[in-house]
């Protein structure tokens, strides 16, 4: 029963709390003048949020390879988008 309670309540609630903290960090750090590092920090926090969702809610470490492949499709497609976007932006 404890295991079930941990699965249904504690783990998601802790993850939600962590996501809220990261969200607050995003907002707060936006007002801290760090120059070009602002963008990098924001993206790193966003990546951490996505990682949490992937590991906890999508259970990617416990699932079969097909599900992990499906989850990987998003980042792969974003990579393709950025790669071809920069074929324009980097060569203007």
């Amino acid at each position: 029963m404890d295991e079930r309670r941990r699965e249904i309540w504690i783990r998601p609630l802790l993850t939600w709390a962590a996501l809220c903290v990261l969200l607050a960090a995003t907002c707060a750090l936006a007002y801290v003048p760090m120059g070009r590092a602002n963008l990098a920090v924001s993206l790193a926090i966003a990546a951490a949020k996505a990682g949490l969702v992937g590991v906890v809610f999508m259970r990617l470490f416990e699932n079969n390879p097909l599900n992990r492949l499906a989850a990987a499709a998003g980042p792969i497609w974003i990579f393709v988008m950025f790669l071809l976007l920069f074929s324009d932006y980097a060569t203007r």
Partner: protein
């Protein structure tokens, strides 16, 4: 020429109190039983009715445009109204007809039947998908009531963010909400294909239509979120003055075009991949031949879906995009022609030594084959940078994409409608009238759009309601074709309604087709199959090494 295809006795004599379950059309008669259904077949019908309504809204809008263009002067409507009409036509036809057309109707109806399943993997998500479509459609109706929107269906910035004083926000939000409907349908189809295939239905026994739905779903799931985000950025810029695309404040208007076409070029494949799936089913059935090169047809579908993501920059050759990027996107655009050509050649090879029946669905399939080929070949013209520079924003482009989207997808849609009509309704349609409509649609389409290739090449720009008199002859021809096309679209509406009430009863398999859906009664009951379907090799229309159907007839 008989007036019905293959008349047969009813195979599903369900009566109240009998042990045979009622078919899905008679499984509840209340409005509630339809609006809260989770049956994939009923949801398909709900989608079919909704997209038909929007098809006619889009058609009315373009009728005004075509009538205006009969004379060179702007004498029917104002320039503002003209802009709103072609915008409404584009938004409605792309997002509220073409994108959901085959997947949400025939995909919903047929996917579970074709793989031997009782329903889709997530029936409630399926009906939610229809409600989201309706919500998006209502926002579009609000847009019309609010006076319309004049940005063109592409919502290009900075016009849409800084200058247009029309109902951009409701239009963009309508498309945004509708995008979630696409994603839910895509997720459902992917999950269903993975987990609900009947025993024996291996991946390489799947009908090409199912493969097409699968490839389409991948595009829906991976591309649509980018459109949603892009439209949201327009809303953010208009509402909150956040200068994402405003060049004067550090934004980049070309970023909008990149993001928009990252979705909207693959969206062309959301429209045409399902049509390719339909064509594969029709051509194999009416040629009585196994589909030539089945495995290559599968690989070609997946290749088109994937490579389709890499080519969006060919919409931006004259936008200020770097010449290097132009070359990259031009090369990648040529690459997507390879799998497309594989499909066209394989359909043609399937016909070889076939016993071809010229029933209405096959006429539509032939129309698809010819028109898609012309659309595809002119796509190669547009992938060539110097030619694209010459014809950008002319009627050449308009003709090209209508050959793909209307000549290709709408022909296949009508082919599918006639082919599976007996399965959907349990009735046969009047064959002679259907053949007349199919031929009329082919001629009407070419009369409408072929002159647009010529006038576009000669320099007639798109989206102008006043034009030089030397282009009038082409516009008059085009408008005449549109009238013919209108008749060809309305004809099925009447004879199919007639057939639904008075048409001869169809058996389970009036076309003697081979897919699992034909093992279910017509129309199917709630759970589709009365007995477990027997899975065999796909398109088993003649023995692999045996004589052809034509040879058998001669023997």
């Amino acid at each position: 020429m008989s007036d019905v295809a293959h008349p047969a006795a009813p195979d599903h004599p369900a009566t109240p109190g009998s042990a045979v379950p009622p078919d899905y059309l008679h499984d509840g008669h209340t409005l509630r039983s339809w609006l809260f259904t989770t049956d994939h077949k009923r949801i398909a019908i709900l989608f079919a009715l909704s997209i038909t309504l929007f098809f006619f809204i889009g058609a009315i809008a373009i009728s005004v445009v075509r009538l205006e263009l009969v004379t060179p002067a702007g004498d029917l409507v104002s320039d503002d109204t003209y802009n709103k009409m072609f915008t409404l036509h584009g938004i409605v036809m792309v997002w509220f007809f073409l994108i959901p057309s085959i997947p949400a109707t025939f995909g919903n109806f047929l996917l579970p039947l074709m793989i031997g399943a009782k329903d889709l993997a997530f029936p409630r998500i399926n009906v939610l998908s229809w409600y989201l479509y309706v919500a998006g459609a209502l926002l579009t109706v609000v847009t019309i009531i609010a006076g319309g929107v004049d940005t063109g269906w592409t919502f290009y910035v900075p016009y849409s963010t800084m200058f247009s004083n029309t109902a951009v926000l409701t239009a963009a939000m309508g498309v945004f909400v509708n995008g979630f409907s696409s994603v839910l349908t895509g997720v459902n189809f992917i999950a269903t294909t993975h987990v609900l295939r009947a025993p024996g239905m291996t991946w390489f026994r799947l009908p090409l239509f199912v493969w097409a739905m699968y490839a389409t779903s991948l595009v829906m799931v991976l591309a649509t979120p980018v459109l949603a985000m892009t439209l949201l950025l327009i809303v953010v810029e208009r509402w909150f003055d956040l200068p994402v695309f405003d060049a004067s404040r550090g934004g980049d208007p070309l970023l909008f075009q990149h993001l928009f076409w990252f979705y909207s070029h693959p969206a062309v494949y959301i429209m045409v991949l399902p049509a390719m799936g339909v064509a594969s089913e029709l051509i194999a059935c009416f040629a009585r031949r196994r589909l030539f090169g089945y495995s290559f047809m599968v690989y070609a579908l997946v290749a088109i879906a994937v490579i389709g993501f890499f080519v969006w920059g060919h919409h931006m050759f004259v936008s200020g995009q770097s010449p290097y990027a132009n070359v990259v996107f031009s090369f990648l655009s040529f690459m997507v022609a390879v799998p497309s050509a594989i499909k066209v050649f394989n359909w043609t090879a399937t016909l070889y030594r076939g016993s071809i029946g010229f029933d209405a669905p096959m006429l539509y399939a032939f129309g698809f084959l010819g028109l898609f080929t012309i659309g595809g070949l002119t796509g190669l013209f547009l992938a060539t940078v110097p030619i694209d520079i010459h014809v950008t924003d002319t009627y050449f482009v308009v003709a090209h994409f209508h050959y793909i989207m209307v000549g290709g997808t709408v022909s296949a849609f009508f082919g599918a409608l006639h082919f599976w009509w007996p399965k959907i309704t349990g009735r046969l349609y009047p064959e002679t009238l259907a053949r007349i409509a199919a031929v009329l649609m082919f001629f009407g389409f070419n009369l409408t759009f072929f002159p647009q290739f010529v006038m576009g090449y000669l320099g007639m720009p798109r989206r102008y309601h006043v034009y030089p008199p030397e282009f009038q002859i082409y516009h008059v021809l085009s408008t005449s074709g549109a009238a013919l096309l209108g008749v060809a679209y309305v004809m099925p509406l009447f004879y199919l309604i007639w057939s639904f009430r008075w048409g001869a009863r169809a058996g389970a398999n009036p076309w003697r087709a081979k897919g699992l859906e034909w093992q279910a009664p017509s129309p199917p009951p709630r759970d589709n199959f009365l007995t477990p379907p027997v899975v065999g090799e796909p398109y088993d229309y003649h023995p692999p090494e045996g004589p052809t159907a034509a040879e058998e007839q001669v023997a």
